[in-house]
Amino acid sequence: MALVKVENLTKTYGEVHAVAGVSFEIREGEIFGLLGPNGAGKTTTIHVLCTYTEPTGGNVTVAGCSVTAEAETVKRAIGVVPQEIALYADLNAVENMRFFGRVYDVPEARLRQRIGELLQLVGLTEHAHKRVEHYSGGMKRRLNLAVGLLSEPRFLMLDEPTVGVDPQSRNAIFENIQALNRQGLTVLYTTHYMEEAQLLCDRVAIMDEGRIIALDTPQNLVQTLGTGLIRIGVKDGVSEEMLARLRALPRVHAVTRHDDSLAFETVDAQRALLDIIALFNEMDTPMTSLHILEPNLESVFIQLTGKQLRD
């Protein structure tokens, strides 16, 4: 059953189309990833879902409630972990959590209990009374997550929650999210780190320039690449005849032409590469670069867009 429905969502700022007709559903209990480079439209999509941004068009519902017409109901159903460290640096962890818990009308007795549970979950019990300004980046991120969980939401949105954190804190955040998901929490996770999406998410939507360009499980998305992706730089492009011959090679599954490169989905990358090089030599076409990429979500993104995820 879909907890979140996004239908043809658009958001424009003047001439800029931040989100250009995005549609997807998030099923109850799944971890859904939005993967894409900076500026792809991930944060704008989250902002619409959490009622912070007014959509230009489309229909968005959370737990059956419209984010525009029933914003107050939506606000009580969701938890948000924003990209910024949205905490009061002058206050300690307990003071921050007590304040935001009261904002969400969490009853006092439950709030005290909840603060203790969440501090334990994110491993900050020993630092509960230390000012946030004295926390490390990773500790701040973990507290940022804990505050987003105070109201015991059905649906948690995390916007790039691991930016700038150490590997230890990153692993801790992953474990927290997976533990919460096992308890039934539905999660929307945005990132531009493909490893994170691949590791955490049940399904991933890959976004670029305000559009979803692929949506499936990480496994299915990666399988489209076959056993490997070869990317060859070409200075002046290739002729139609050469492109047809490349596509006809036996171990080449598909060839995608980008501005200054060709991306080859292969069945056997190593053997396919020999065939490709032979054809380039035969056609006397110079290569400017050559990369063999392991099959993963980043390769999928490169294959789909011709761009790197992290610019």
């Binding site: 959490c50 009580r76 948000v80 924003p82 990209q83 910024e84 009061y88 904002v103």
Partner: protein, 409 residues
């Protein structure tokens, strides 16, 4: 309401974490007000370049009264008018046609000659805006006369007496060392205990009461510093916007009015505390007369702080970044303070400016304080001011609430 108080309490909690900020928040107004009181409230200080007509009624007719007229006439910003009787002079002041009038009492010269204390009476206009300035000018001029001129007269008189001569042409040759020393001692005595005092009365009020310059300066600076809560209110919200906590609050189930109202409550309380502290300071250090209506004073203070913090909400609704905040709020704060009478009495400005000043909340606040503290008015005398300030605040808050960007559009 509970949510609004929650936001307000959190603001105060945040403020309490920055103890040095609190110290400076209190020291700055106290320090500046102290300096202003010393500079503008002390004897012998005149600083205004505007020329005012000042009727002088001479009941004395003696040489000292002539000297007063002479000294006052030499003040560049006074045009002393003689020829009015006391009744006419007082009526001119009451009617607002003159900023004030000086009455030289009968026996003024004789009192000085016989070294008896006497005083000049300064009658000022009921608006209260003019009183501190004129008081400063007349006190300065007559104080200078009383202290310096009298000292010289006394010193020379002593010298003459010692020399047994009544001719000033020959006085010097008879002056001996011990005579000069006695004259100087007498002069110093006069400096500390001047013969001529300035007695200031306000006409048009229920009773005529004396006041000092602090009655203008302390509320003037108090209102100006209350205006600085505009900066705090606007700056606090913009700072929260930039660090992300405001977004977190915006996507929480908080009513819009409670969110902005909560921010306002904290700044409001800070503003009230600042004004209260300034008044306590004024009373303790400068023996400031707070008037006869503590309730009126409390209400005008609350109304002023409500209006200033609401103005802050309005400004933050139109200001887009922290870089814009300082130039805009400085313009509003200092412009309103100057125009509204925090620094200078309004009457010194052209009529059209005085009318324009009514758009500032400072002018309404200052008028209220002056009525209470200078004219000894009651709550009934400042109802209009309180009402206007409350309405001013409500309007700013409503417009701010309307214009504030709670959502990205």
């Amino acid at each position: 309401m509970k949510k609004m108080l929650l936001i307000g309490l959190n603001e105060l909690l945040l403020l309490s974490k920055d103890r040095m900020a609190i110290v400076w928040m209190l020291i700055a107004p106290l320090g500046l007000t102290f300096i202003a009181c010393l500079v503008f409230g002390g004897p012998g200080s005149t600083s205004e370049a505007v020329v005012m007509d000042l009727p002088l009624v001479d009941h004395d007719g003696g040489e000292m009264a002539a000297a007063v007229l002479d000294v006052l006439s030499q003040a560049g910003n006074l045009c002393v008018e003689t020829g009015y009787d006391e009744e006419t002079a007082r009526r001119l002041v009451e009617d607002g046609e003159r900023a004030g009038a000086v009455i030289v009492p009968t026996g003024f010269s004789e009192a000085i000659r016989s070294r008896q204390p006497t005083s000049l009476e300064l009658v000022v206009v009921p608006s209260g805006q003019t009183a501190p300035l004129l008081e400063g000018m007349v006190r300065g001029v007559t104080g200078g006369f009383a202290n310096v001129q009298t000292v010289v007269e006394v010193a020379v008189g002593e010298a003459r007496r010692a020399a047994g001569s009544h001719s000033p042409d020959y006085a010097d040759e008879y002056i001996r060392k011990e005579t000069i020393e006695r004259a100087v001692a007498t002069a110093l005595e006069r400096l500390h205990h001047p013969l001529v005092a300035t007695r200031v009365t306000v006409v048009g009020a229920d009773d005529e009461r004396e006041f000092d310059a602090g009655s203008q300066i302390v509320p003037g600076y108090a209102v100006m510093f209350a205006m600085f809560t505009v900066l705090s209110a606007a700056g606090g919200i913009l700072e929260e916007k930039e660090r992300g906590t405001f977004k977190r609050l915006l996507i929480s189930p908080l009513p819009k009015w409670a969110l902005l109202g909560g921010k306002l409550v904290a700044q409001f309380l800070v503003g009230v505390a600042q004004i209260a502290l300034l008044f306590v300071f004024g009373v303790l250090v400068f023996h400031l007369d707070l008037g006869d209506s503590p309730l009126g004073l409390l209400l005008i203070t609350l109304a002023t702080c409500w209006a200033t913090t609401s103005l802050g909400v309005l400004l933050v609704a139109v200001i887009r970044s922290r870089r814009q905040i300082h130039p805009i709020t400085t313009l509003v704060i200092l412009g309103s303070s100057a125009l509204g009478g925090s620094w200078y009495p309004l009457f010194l400005m052209p009529k059209v400016v005085q009318q324009v000043a009514r758009i500032t909340l400072v002018s309404w606040a200052m008028e209220g304080y002056n009525r209470l503290m200078i004219m000894g008015g009651s709550l009934a005398d400042v109802w209009v001011n309180i009402g206007v300030l409350i309405l001013y605040g409500a309007t700013c808050f409503a417009i701010g609430l309307k214009l504030f960007r709670f959502k990205e559009t």
